[in-house]
């Protein structure tokens, strides 16, 4: 029943959709309350009764779930089904020491694949295409989803592997990639590398970019489309769970359609948590409607969104959002991967066997390289008069952070007095 739902779901009559959402919401709430102690306790602490949600609007009576809650219940604490019903276990970088572990039933996987399939086929992916997936290890979950979805559409898939920019460029040109799935940051770097090496975009088979992980600004879209002679499609997802295509662009390229047949979306004021007036910007908050194993109730995404109230000319009745740059939580987006200060600190402390007192971070987005730069202040604890020991520390921290965050990380040692204001741990992006 679900596969057809996904296909027809995008054109469902709005009134019918609301009714269906309410039924699915009530079922989800009851299941989460009944099977996941975290939700039961959280509801109880907030004196929220599952039965009090009598309409979609009354979801506001339920408490929020935050990103930090996900990692605190490592590994299986938020699963709503017994492990024997789980057929896949995903790991994504968490905000603290632990990663976020999510589980999927067979039916969950079918739904996720269908959601990704819908998003990719809307972008025109078909059996004659060659899809190259190029995402950092921190977004590996999406890589698997895109692969499954594209294979279901009959495309030839070059799956996610960790390759240098040079190798990716070689594959792109020689294998005649027609669709590239990556982040806007990487796409821009790849374009710069290609153009710098004198490649004529018309000689490439590439005609479609599927860009996830970061909002696609109009400027970046224009640069990519004009520079490489192709069409870019923006996809939105949560890295904690599979789900590129949780919201996706249609041929109108004006906002992303929310997969409202599987999620209930709210746009809330990040400070007060109350819904913003329709059409105003706020934080996207998601509740899963069809997920069995890993339900999320009012999950605060930290993503800045604005609902586009007008119906889309494409005819899909899934409402659209405009995804805006910048974040509403204290994470920073590095090549599509959310990074939190505490997470960096906890890994640094583990590797150095001490809690660093002086540190700064900054996203680096160069012409051809990008990632996270960490400054470690050399105080008495960190210092050694032997260069090889200092270099060993740099190596160990950058290796551990690259591994844990799944994005490139470089570490630089700094004099503690040369690091800028103490209260500003995140420095402006370096270009």
């Amino acid at each position: 029943m679900l596969e057809t739902d996904v296909k027809t779901g995008q054109y469902m009559d709005p009134a019918q959709r609301l009714q269906r959402q309410l039924e699915l919401l009530q079922a989800t709430i009851n299941r989460a309350h009944g099977t996941v102690p975290f939700y039961k306790n959280r509801f109880m602490e907030n004196r929220a009764e599952p039965s009090s949600v009598e309409s979609l609007d009354s979801i506001g009576r339920l408490p929020f779930t935050y990103r930090k809650d996900l990692a605190e219940h490592y590994p299986y604490g938020l699963f709503a089904v017994p492990l024997r019903d789980i057929v896949r276990i995903h790991t994504a970088p968490g905000l603290g020491v632990h990663p976020v572990v999510s589980g999927y039933t067979r039916q969950d996987l079918v739904i996720w694949r269908e959601i990704a399939t819908r998003a990719l086929s809307t972008a025109g992916l078909g059996a004659s295409d060659i899809l190259q997936i190029c995402l950092d290890p921190g977004l590996a979950n999406w890589g698997r989803d895109y692969k499954d979805a594209a294979e279901a559409l009959g495309a030839s898939v070059i799956p996610l592997t960790s390759l240098s920019m040079e190798k990716q460029r070689m594959i792109l040109a020689d294998y005649k990639t027609s669709v590239l799935s990556t982040t806007p940051t990487f796409a821009v770097q790849l374009m710069n590398t290609l153009l710098a090496s004198g490649v004529n975009p018309n000689e490439l088979a590439l005609r479609t970019l599927v860009l996830a992980g970061e909002p696609l600004t109009p400027e970046t879209r224009q640069a990519l489309e004009e520079g490489l002679h192709l069409t870019a499609w923006s996809h939105y997802g949560l890295s904690e769970v599979p789900g590129p295509g949780l919201a996706f662009e249609c041929e109108e390229h004006h906002g992303l359609h929310l997969s409202e047949d599987h999620f209930l979306a709210e746009i809330v004021d990040p400070a007060s948590g109350t819904p913003v007036p329709e059409g105003e910007e706020g934080e996207l908050t998601l509740t899963t409607l069809t997920t069995r194993a890993f339900p999320l109730i009012r999950f605060r995404t930290g993503d800045r969104m604005r609902l586009i109230p007008e119906p889309c000319p494409c005819g899909r009745t899934l409402r659209r959002v405009q995804w805006l740059p910048g974040r509403l939580d204290d994470t920073v987006l590095i090549r599509g991967v959310k990074v939190h200060q505490d997470q960096i600190l906890s890994h640094m402390s583990r590797v150095l066997s001490l809690v660093p007192r002086h540190f700064r971070f900054r996203p680096v987005r160069g012409e051809t390289a990008s990632g996270l730069e960490v400054w470690l202040g050399v105080d008495n604890d960190v210092f050694s008069d032997e260069v090889k020991i200092l270099e060993g520390r740099v190596q160990a921290v950058s290796a551990a952070l690259s591994q844990e965050l799944g994005v490139p990380v470089s570490v630089r040692l700094k004099e503690t007095t040369q690091m800028g204001p103490e209260n500003q741990k995140w420095m402006p992006e370096a270009l």
Partner: protein, 143 residues
């Protein structure tokens, strides 16, 4: 018997070395010997000075990260093979040299080598057993 060295962490940044030298000069500290170990990003400056305690304090007060390390200051004949003799001894004893640097002694015909051995105690033992003159902190400061 060990000599005292101070080590300073420096970023590779224009003017940092001069700034440090100015702080020492203003405090009337004389640098006897120094070595700079550097990478593309940073350097570690190792110094033998006439007043290590004062040097450490003024640098610390000016925000530098400073460490005191014990090193061996060995007085050698300033002639071909003088260094080789020490290195051979260490090699035979299985002692590694973490770093070393040298300067000519004002006392005629002698040179002073600063060594950091690994392990330090064993290196010192070898020097003492060979009867080579080790200079103390006070010797170095007095020159």
């Amino acid at each position: 018997m060990m000599a005292e060295q101070i080590s300073v962490f420096l970023e590779n940044k224009a003017g940092r070395l001069a700034e440090m030298a100015r702080i020492l000069a203003d405090a009337s500290i004389n640098i006897r010997a120094l070595s700079l170990a550097d990478t593309s990003d940073f350097g570690v400056l190792r110094l033998i000075v006439n007043d290590p305690e004062k040097a450490r304090t003024v640098l610390k007060d000016n925000g530098f990260t400073v460490r005191r390390t014990e090193v061996a200051a060995v007085e050698l004949e300033d002639r071909p093979g003088g260094l080789l003799a020490v290195l051979d001894l260490m090699d035979d004893a299985g002692v590694n040299i973490e770093y070393m640097y040298a300067y000519a002694s004002p006392r005629g015909g002698r040179a002073v080598m600063i060594f950091r051995f690994d392990p330090m105690e064993k290196g010192l033992e070898v020097i003492e057993k060979a009867g080579l003159p080790l200079m103390e902190g006070t010797d170095l400061q007095a020159w």
